[in-house]
């Protein structure tokens, strides 16, 4: 592969992607497409974005050699891209800053978002406060209950959190409800989608804003170890942190790209959120991609210990990377992720998000069977403070 220039004009990555929305949203989508095309090349926009990422988010995030973890496993060297050190504690803010800057240029004073665990909601509420915008966050009623602390955090930041009572009352339903809000308030509202899903141009736009992660790695790894890694691992919910680190490496074919999905209770249990590992292509939330669905095309409920991975779809570009063989995808169970969570805490003093713990768990699986000269780079997409209640509960404690 010498060039990689997907998506095409219509927002397709091979057979995946596209713009599957009601006519009532097409004008808003067209406007967004035009404006994004304009600003993604605009030097003034890019300069401001770089400034914000440096001074507000704290980029570049460091890459850290997890020596004790690597020694403990006795094989490949594990390096962590520390997105957990970003302001708000995850990679999500890379994207929300970009989209909020675009919203301001488009004259939209109101932003809306969907959220599962609340990380994207927090990242959106944060930039809305930073830029003085009205902010409404849709969150499944079930998640509002499970993630009380992030709900309060969003409220402190001035956002209104709307519990969504329809369907399974989780992330996918929050996304549906945000779309309904958008179609009703097209004139003054910008919808900040939190992952590389949704109708074109969202999968591209969210990838581009997160690609700063992979671009930094491209220069940091040679500085640190004199070469690029052999393997890059990232967890995949909708797939934004994974696309962010994969994208700049797509043409570096010697680097293996592996996405780690939420295996829940195990793929054979049916209780998981591994759309690429166990799904079938279909159409949801504006794009064609792998979906967890029943034989009649109804979307099925998913399960993961990490709310941020608990989504029945996945970004269309991952669907393409899977089919084309450029990336591969594996699943890690709740139990394996928890074990990785505890191991990283104890050996490195780093408390990873449960989402990111899935990628760490895959590194722990792979490292022992690789040589000591091999390098695994893990995107540590977020910090785990938000997950302490969940982890405590699993250990039979109540905080």
């Amino acid at each position: 592969m010498n060039v990689y220039d997907l998506p095409d004009q219509e927002g397709y990555f091979g057979p995946y992607g596209g713009t599957f929305v009601s006519e009532t949203l097409m004008a808003a989508i067209e406007e967004l497409k035009t404006q994004y095309e304009r600003y993604r090349q605009d030097p003034e926009f890019l300069t401001e974005l770089a400034h914000e990422l440096h001074h507000y988010v704290g980029r570049p995030s460091p890459i850290y050699h997890a020596k004790r973890l690597s020694e403990h496993l006795g094989g490949a060297q594990i390096y962590l891209k520390r997105e957990d050190l970003n302001h708000t504690g995850a990679h999500k803010v890379n994207n929300t800053i970009g989209q909020a800057m675009l919203a301001r240029r488009m004259g939209k004073p109101r932003v809306i978002a969907e959220t599962g665990a609340g990380q994207h909601g927090v990242a959106t509420a944060t930039v809305a406060a930073r830029y003085g915008m009205e902010c409404v966050v849709y969150m499944g009623a079930e998640d509002v209950r499970r993630q009380a602390q992030n709900v309060y955090r969003m409220k402190l930041l001035g956002a209104r959190v709307v519990p969504v009572e329809s369907g399974s009352k989780t992330l996918k339903d929050a996304l549906n409800e945000a779309m309904r809000d958008w179609v009703t308030h097209i004139d003054d509202t910008f919808y900040i989608i939190g992952t590389v899903a949704g109708p074109h141009p969202y999968p591209t736009m969210v990838r581009d804003f997160n690609a700063v992660v992979g671009r930094e790695c491209l220069t940091q790894m040679p500085d640190l170890v004199g070469r690029q890694p052999d393997v890059i691992l990232a967890c995949v919910g909708g797939g934004s942190n994974a696309m962010g680190i994969f994208y700049p490496y797509i043409l570096q074919e010697s680097v293996r790209l592996i996405g780690v999905e939420a295996g829940g209770d195990g793929l054979s249990s049916g209780r998981h959120a591994a759309s690429l590992s166990a799904g079938v292509p279909g159409v949801l939330h504006g794009n064609r991609t792998y979906l967890l669905q029943d034989a009649h095309g109804q979307i099925i409920e998913t399960h993961s210990i990490s709310a941020g991975l608990d989504y029945p779809g996945v970004g269309p570009e991952h669907a393409w990377l899977k089919d084309s063989g450029r990336a591969s995808y594996v699943a890690i169970t709740d139990g394996e992720a928890l074990q990785a969570f505890h191991t990283l805490c104890r050996l490195e003093g780093i408390l990873p998000a449960l989402e990111s713990s899935h990628a760490v768990a895959q590194a722990m699986k792979m490292a022992p069977v690789l040589g000591k000269d091999q390098i695994i780079l893990v995107n540590l997409s977020g910090r785990g403070d938000k997950d302490m209640a969940t982890v405590a509960e699993r250990s039979g404690l109540h905080l």
Partner: protein, 267 residues
């Protein structure tokens, strides 16, 4: 001539406008779908729109979302919806039936298989909410091979140029979404809608229907002065929701008759 075209031709001869009710198949019970369809026709419906239940009805408001959830709880599938149309056709081969739903259940069945089964069942038109014209290409090709119309939406935010393009592609009828929002949403500005419908009709080769937010006879009557068809969805679904199951066909028929009388009074 297709059933849809001949229905509009017939109505135009009578100087009447089409009344199109919508409800979701399987709400509240699958067995009630055919009796309800017949009752709607008795009450004065000219074309029937049947909702295919979907787990993620992104363009629908709470009323039709709940209808979809009830139908899914009853285990209703696209195959069931097609069987309902077949059964309805045993006693009615005049009234056009249009299926309305989302892409995924149809893609899961397969576009060609769906088209063939829809033809065998006696379906006349298909409206896939999340297939804008560009994404509808393959389905439209499959449907036109078997003589089924693809129905497209136009909205208040559709640009002039896009409106002309969609009007060129349209088969059956065009469906103008009369407000900015989801089905069943708030207030509809009748005069603005009327003006827009007039613009669409000036460039459309097929009849133009109006729907979303039509809740009473007076609105239906005013809009039937400018449009070729009026769609009543959430209002009917509310009636179904408020009714005990055995009463559903009767109450649907009564509601239809009220709209029919209001509309025909306008002629």
């Amino acid at each position: 001539m297709s059933r849809i075209a001949s229905t509009f031709a017939h109505l135009s001869g009578l100087n009447r406008k089409a009344l199109i009710p919508f409800f979701t198949v399987g709400d509240p019970l699958l067995e009630l779908a055919v009796p309800t369809m017949r009752a709607l026709v008795s009450g004065g419906a000219d074309i029937l729109e049947l909702g295919i239940p979907f787990s993620d009805p992104m363009a629908d408001g709470p009323t039709i979302q709940r209808a979809s959830e009830r139908a899914l709880q009853n285990g209703v599938t696209l195959t069931d919806v097609l069987a309902v149309v077949s059964e309805f056709r045993l006693t009615d081969d005049q009234t056009p039936v249009v299926l309305m739903g989302y892409a995924n259940p149809i893609e899961r069945l397969g576009l060609d298989a769906f088209a063939a089964q829809a033809r065998d069942a006696g379906v006349d038109g298909v409206l896939v909410v999340d297939y804008p014209p560009l994404e509808a290409r393959h389905l439209k090709a499959a449907l036109s091979l078997v003589g089924i119309d693809t129905i497209f939406l136009l909205s208040p935010t559709t640009t002039e140029q896009r409106m002309r393009e969609i009007a060129q592609l349209a088969t059956g009828y065009l469906y103008y979404v009369s407000l900015r929002g989801v089905t069943g949403a708030g207030h509809l500005e009748v005069e603005a809608v009327a003006a827009q419908v007039a613009r669409i009709r000036s460039c459309a080769r097929v009849p133009v229907g109006v729907g979303f937010g039509i809740r009473d006879g007076a609105t239906a009557r005013r809009l039937s002065e400018v449009a070729d068809a009026v769609v009543v969805g959430s209002r009917l679904v509310e009636e179904i929701e408020a009714s005990i199951p055995t009463e559903v066909p009767h109450r649907a028929e009564t509601l239809m008759r009220q709209f029919r009388l209001a509309m025909d009074g306008a002629q």
